[in-house]
C-alpha cells in the first residue's frame, strides 16, 4: 500500500487529434510500465476501430511507478479518456476519478472547441489543471500565441504551461515532475466507510462484468459483499486489481487506488457509470457527487440488408450492449425494410461507431434509417408523448404542439469565415447568442441550435466552410417548441416508412422536392409508370413521375428455348423477391441505401 502523499491520479484531456494517446505512449515508456519490445502505437487503444480512427472510445486506466527527481517513487494512475462530446458524461466520470488533468493543446492548432469544453469539465470536477503545449517540434508550432490563448480564453497563467512533444519525447519528464509537484494527492480519503466510483465497466466472457473504479475511502477485497448506492444493486467481489497496464490481481484496493473490481454480475446494464460502490453491511453515508442517468439522444433504425441476418444482428447488438450500456435497442418492423431494430445512441459519433462495429466485428451488412432525435409531443387532450421514430408521430390534428431538443454549441472558427458560419447556423434554424474573440485569428460563437439540425451534415459543412479549421462542441440545452411536421414519401400513393422524417414546416417542401428528385434518379424504370410524392398529412408538397421502360423483350423463343427462357424469367423473379414491394413497385435494396446515404438527406 502506497502512502497517499505518493499517489497521483490524473488524466489527459484534449481536443481530438492533439496528441493525447501518443503522449500517453511516451509516459508509459518513460516509466518503463511497458517494455520497449511490447510497445506499439496507441497502446491504450485496444480496439481496431480506435487505432484506425485515432480516437479513444473506452476509458483506459493504467497504473505506473515513477521515480521522481527527488529520488522517491510515486504511483501514477493515468486515465485515458474518450475525447468526444458524445461521451462527455463518461469523460466527466473519468475526470471525477482524478485530482488533476493534463490539458493538452496542439502547438500549431491552438485552443479548440473541445479544449475549452474539457477544461470546463475538469474545473467543474475540482481538478488541478496542468496546461501542456504539445507538438512543439512541429515547424508550424507557435508557442507564444498559444500562451496568449491560454491566458485569454481559459484564464490559465501562461508560465504554468509544460512544453512537450509526444513524437520526440521532449518535455515528458517535465510533465511527470509537474504531476508530482502540482497534482494534489488523493482527496476525500478520510470519509468513513467504503466509497468507490465506477467510471467505466466492461463485460468479459470469462469473468463477467468488470468495473473500472477509483477508491476514495475504505478498502475493498475479494469476497466482499458490496452494493451500488444509486440503485442499491448488491453484488459480490470476485477479484480486485490494478491496470499495469494489463489487469493484475491485488489483495485489496485502498484509498487513492485506481483499478478494477470483478463482480458476479452478467450484464453491464445492471450498473450505471458514476454510481458509488459501498459495503452492503456498513454503507457509507453519502454518495460521491455528480451521478446522473444518461439517456440516448439520437435514434436510428438499423436493419439487416439480408433479411435472414435478423437473428445474427440481434445477437451482435446484444453483445455490443454487454460493453456499452448507453446503447439501447428494441425490435421494430418497417414495411420497407422488414424486421430490424430501433437504436438509441448518446450522439452521432456513438451511432457511427456502433454501426461500424456491427459491420466490422460481426460482419453484417446493415442499412440505417435517418437519425432522429427525441421529440416531446403534447396532444390536444393534454397527453404527452416522447417520439423518436417519425412513424409514431400522431396525426397533426391531435397535436397541440411539439418540442424539440436544443443544444448550446460553442463553435471555434477562423475570424475570416464568421459570415459563412453564421449563415450555416441560421440555415440550420440556429441563433447565435454571443461571439467571443480568442485571438486575432479566431473567434468562438455560442449558438442555440436544434439538435436535429446538426445530425446529418452540420459538422462536415462547418469543416468545409472553415477549410478544416473549425471545431464544435455542444451541450444539451433543454427543449423548445417548433413548427414541426412529418414528411412522408409515397410511391404510387403508398408511404415508404423508412423515408419518413420529422422536419421543420418551412423546410418540408424543399426537402420533399429534393427527395423525390433523388428517388427519380435512383429507382430503376419498371413495367408501369411510378408516381413519387412527398406529403405532409394529406397535403402533397412535391411529386415526380418515373415513366415506364419501353423495351424488355427477347426476340428468339421457340420450343427448345422454352425451358431456358422460363429459367431466365424465374431468375428475374427471384431477383425481385429480394426487392421490397411498395405500391406495387419493386424497390431494390440499394435504392434504399442510396437514398438513406444521401448525406444531406436530400435537402440542399
Amino acid at each position: 500500500m502506497t502512502d497517499l502523499s505518493h499517489i497521483r491520479n490524473f488524466c489527459i484531456i484534449a481536443h481530438v487529434d492533439h496528441g493525447k494517446t501518443t503522449l500517453s505512449d511516451r509516459i508509459l515508456e518513460l516509466t518503463r510500465t511497458v517494455e520497449m519490445r511490447d510497445m506499439k502505437e496507441q497502446l491504450l487503444d485496444s480496439m481496431d476501430l480506435e487505432r484506425e480512427r485515432g480516437i479513444t472510445i473506452k476509458s483506459h486506466p493504467v497504473s505506473m511507478v515513477y521515480r521522481a527527481r527527488n529520488g522517491e517513487d510515486y504511483l501514477f494512475n493515468l486515465i485515458d479518456t474518450p475525447g468526444h462530446v458524445d461521451f462527455s458524461y463518461e469523460v466527466s466520470r473519468s475526470l471525477a476519478a482524478c485530482e488533476g488533468a493534463m490539458l493538452l493543446i496542439d502547438a500549431a492548432q491552438g485552443i479548440e472547441a473541445q479544449t475549452v469544453a474539457n477544461a470546463h469539465l475538469a474545473t467543474e470536477q475540482g481538478l488541478e489543471i496542468v496546461p501542456v503545449i504539445n507538438k512543439v517540434d512541429l515547424p508550424s508550432a507557435d508557442v507564444p500565441a498559444i500562451m496568449v490563448q491560454l491566458e485569454d480564453v481559459l484564464a490559465i497563467p501562461a508560465d504554468e504551461a509544460v512544453l512537450t512533444s509526444g513524437k520526440t519525447g521532449i518535455g515528458i519528464e517535465d510533465l511527470l515532475e509537474a504531476a508530482v509537484a502540482r497534482v494534489p494527492s488523493p482527496r476525500w480519503a478520510d470519509v468513513e466507510g467504503l466509497r468507490v466510483l465506477i467510471f467505466d465497466c466492461i463485460y468479459d466472457a470469462y469473468k463477467g462484468v468488470i468495473c473500472y473504479v477509483r477508491v476514495f475511502s475504505g478498502s475493498v477485497k475479494m469476497g466482499d459483499q458490496i452494493m451500488t448506492m444509486g440503485d442499491e444493486r448488491k453484488m459480490q467481489v470476485k477479484e480486485v486489481g490494478r491496470f499495469s497496464p494489463a489487469m493484475t490481481k491485488q489483495d485489496s484496493l485502498n484509498p487513492g487506488d485506481v483499478g478494477y473490481i470483478v463482480t458476479n454480475l452478467r450484464d453491464v446494464a445492471d450498473l450505471k457509470l458514476g454510481d458509488t460502490i459501498t459495503h452492503s453491511a456498513n454503507p457509507t453515508k453519502e454518495m460521491l457527487p455528480g451521478y446522473k442517468e444518461v439517456s440516448p439522444m439520437v435514434f436510428s433504425g438499423i436493419y439487416p440488408i439480408d433479411t435472414s441476418d435478423y437473428n445474427k444482428l440481434k445477437s451482435s447488438m446484444g453483445k455490443l450492449r454487454l460493453n456499452d450500456a448507453a446503447f439501447v435497442y428494441q425490435s421494430e418492423n418497417s414495411v420497407a425494410l422488414g424486421f430490424g431494430f430501433r437504436c438509441g445512441f448518446l450522439g452521432l459519433l456513438h451511432m457511427e461507431i456502433i454501426q461500424e462495429r456491427i459491420r466490422r466485428e460481426y460482419d453484417l451488412d446493415v442499412i440505417s434509417t435517418y437519425p432522429s432525435v427525441v421529440y416531446l409531443v403534447t396532444k390536444t387532450d393534454g397527453e404527452k408523448l416522447e417520439v423518436h421514430n417519425p412513424v409514431h408521430l400522431p396525426d397533426p390534428s391531435v397535436i397541440e404542439f411539439i418540442e424539440e431538443p436544443m443544444i448550446l454549441a460553442s463553435i471555434h472558427i477562423p475570424s475570416t469565415s464568421i459570415g459563412d458560419v453564421l449563415a450555416l447556423v441560421s440555415e440550420k434554424r440556429g441563433v447565435c447568442e454571443h461571439t467571443e474573440t480568442i485571438d486575432g485569428q479566431r473567434v468562438m460563437l455560442v449558438c442555440n441550435l436544434p439538435l436535429n439540425e446538426i445530425l446529418i451534415d452540420f459538422n462536415d459543412r462547418l469543416k468545409s466552410i472553415t477549410h478544416g479549421y473549425g471545431s464544435m462542441d455542444y451541450e444539451m440545452n433543454g427543449y423548445q417548441k417548433a413548427k414541426l411536421c412529418r414528411l412522408d414519401i409515397m410511391v404510387n400513393a403508398e408511404p415508404v416508412d423508412a423515408f419518413s422524417s420529422i422536419v421543420h414546416l418551412d423546410k418540408a417542401e424543399g426537402r420533399g422536392r429534393a427527395l423525390c428528385k433523388r428517388l427519380k434518379e435512383i429507382l430503376p424504370k419498371q413495367m408501369f409508370k411510378i408516381a413519387i410524392q412527398a406529403g405532409i398529412g394529406s397535403n402533397i408538397v412535391a411529386r415526380e413521375t418515373i415513366s415506364a421502360y419501353r423495351k424488355d423483350v427477347t426476340a428468339k423463343c421457340y420450343g427448345g428455348d422454352i425451358s431456358r427462357k422460363r429459367k431466365l424469367l424465374e431468375k428475374q423473379k427471384e431477383g425481385k423477391k429480394r426487392m421490397k414491394n411498395i405500391g406495387s413497385v419493386s424497390i431494390p435494396q440499394d435504392a434504399f441505401i442510396k437514398i438513406l446515404k444521401t448525406s444531406d438527406g436530400g435537402s440542399n
Binding site: 425451358s563 424465374e570 423477391k577
Partner: protein
C-alpha cells in the same frame, strides 16, 4: 398432362429434329453444332433411325421442323435417308414440314429430294443483304449466294418459304435495316422472321461484348424493333409473334403449337421435348446422345415434371408473345388450374388499365407497348403465381 377432358383439348403433337452440323460457327449462334465428319454423320443417321423408332405410333404428328445446326448441309442422300426414316415412323405425313437451310448450302439435288419427301416449308438464314454486316456476324455466305439460293428454292416450288433477318447488328444503321426488310419482302417469301441480335453466352459476339468491343444500346434496339414492325406491316407481312411475320395463312404452325403449350418430341442431340407431362432435353453432345441411343437407353437431361399450373402459366407467358394473345377460358380448359388464373386476375387487369394489354371477353392480347415489354410481363406473371 391432363387427358381426362374433352377430346377437343387433346394436345397437338409435333416433332423437332436437330441436325447438329455446321460448316462453321456463326458469331451469334449458341446452338449445339459440330463440323461435319463422315464418321459422325453415319453414326448420327443411325442413331436418328433408333430415335425415330421411339415415336408414338398411335398419334398423328401434325408438324415437323428440322433445325440445327444446318440441316441443309447434309448431302442429298443423307437428307433422303433421314427423311425416309422419319416418315417410316409416322402414322401419316405431317401437314407442315419445315427445314432450315443456309443460303450457301442450297443445291438443286437437295431441294428435289426434300420436295419428294413432302417438305412444305424452306426457311433460309439470310440475316442481311449487306456484305459488311454478314461479315461482322461471321456468316459464310455472300449476298449473291442468297439470290442464287432463292432462285433455286422458288424453282423447286415449295408452298411456304421463310427468310430470317437480323437487326441491331453492331454498326448497322436504321436505313440498312429498312433496306434489308424491303429487299427480303421484294423476294416475296410467305413468311419473315426478324431477330434482334442477342449476345448469348458461349458465342464469339458475347466475348466481344465482355471485352467491350461492342455494346448493347436498349434505345437503339427499341428503334430497330419499332421501325421493323411498322415497315413489315406496310409491306403486307402481318406480325403474329414478337419475331414472326407472315402473309395470310402462312404462320409457322409448328412454332404456334409450342407457344400454345402443346406437345412436341425432339430428336437428335440437344433437342428439347415437352411430352407426356415432362420437359426434357437430349444431351448436347453427339457421342453421349448416340451412345444412349445405341444402348437403347435414350438419355434425358434437364427434366421438369409438368402440371396444369406450370403449363397454364407458360401458355400465358408464351401465348402473350403472339398478337392473337390467349383465350383464358380455353387455356383454363386445357390446363385446369383454377387458382392460378384467379391469382393473376389483378395483374391482368392492371396490364389492361396501364395500356399494355387489351381484353375482350375471355381473350387477352398485348398492345404494341405491351409486346415490347413482354419479358417483364412474363416474369410478373411467374412472380404473381405463389410457389
Amino acid at each position: 398432362m391432363n387427358k381426362a377432358g374433352e377430346s377437343a383439348v387433346d394436345p397437338v403433337l409435333s416433332v423437332y429434329c436437330h441436325v447438329p452440323f455446321c460448316a462453321s460457327t456463326c458469331d451469334f449462334c449458341a446452338f449445339y453444332q459440330e463440323k461435319p465428319r463422315r464418321g459422325d454423320l453415319d453414326r448420327y443417321l443411325a442413331a436418328m433411325d433408333t430415335e425415330f423408332a421411339l415415336l408414338p405410333k398411335d398419334r398423328v404428328v401434325d408438324t415437323v421442323f428440322w433445325g440445327g445446326g444446318t440441316p441443309g448441309l447434309l448431302a442429298a442422300k443423307d437428307l433422303e435417308r433421314l427423311g425416309r426414316s422419319l416418315l417410316d415412323n409416322l402414322k401419316q405425313p405431317p401437314s407442315e414440314w419445315t427445314i432450315e437451310m443456309a443460303p450457301s448450302a442450297v443445291k438443286e439435288d437437295k431441294l428435289a429430294v426434300l420436295r419428294d419427301l413432302g417438305v412444305t416449308r424452306i426457311s433460309m438464314g439470310v440475316q442481311s443483304f449487306h456484305p459488311e454486316l454478314l461479315e461482322s456476324l461471321g456468316r459464310l455466305h455472300r449476298p449473291n449466294q442468297i439470290y442464287t439460293a432463292w432462285e433455286r428454292v422458288q424453282a423447286a416450288g415449295f408452298p411456304q418459304t421463310n427468310l430470317d433477318l437480323m437487326f441491331a447488328i453492331p454498326n448497322q444503321s436504321i436505313e440498312q435495316w429498312e433496306a434489308d426488310i424491303r429487299e427480303a419482302a421484294r423476294l416475296g417469301p410467305t413468311h419473315l422472321s426478324t431477330y434482334c441480335l442477342t449476345f448469348e453466352e458461349d458465342t464469339a459476339l458475347y466475348v466481344k461484348l465482355s471485352q467491350g468491343k461492342v455494346s448493347i444500346d436498349e434505345e437503339r434496339e427499341l428503334q430497330f424493333y419499332e421501325r421493323g414492325w411498322e415497315l413489315l406491316a406496310e409491306l403486307g407481312y402481318a406480325q403474329y409473334e414478337v419475331s414472326n411475320f407472315a402473309k395470310p395463312d402462312a404462320a409457322c404452325l409448328h412454332n404456334v403449337n409450342t407457344w400454345r403449350m402443346q406437345e412436341w418430341i425432339g430428336c437428335g442431340p440437344s433437342a428439347a421435348s415437352q411430352y407426356e407431362g415432362q420437359r426434357y432435353q437430349r444431351p448436347s453432345n453427339l457421342d453421349e446422345w448416340a451412345k444412349g441411343m445405341e444402348a437403347g437407353l435414350p438419355p434425358r437431361t434437364e427434366c421438369v415434371d409438368l402440371d396444369a399450373s406450370i403449363l397454364l402459366a407458360d401458355a400465358l407467358v408464351f401465348g402473350l408473345r403472339m398478337n392473337a394473345g390467349c383465350d383464358l377460358d380455353l387455356i383454363a380448359k386445357q390446363f385446369p388450374a383454377p387458382d392460378v388464373l384467379a391469382q393473376l386476375e389483378p395483374l391482368l387487369s392492371r396490364l389492361a388499365r396501364e395500356g399494355l394489354a387489351e381484353r375482350e371477353g375471355s381473350k387477352i392480347r398485348l398492345t404494341h407497348e405491351g409486346r415490347l415489354v413482354c419479358d417483364a410481363i412474363g416474369s410478373s406473371i411467374l412472380e404473381t403465381i405463389a410457389d
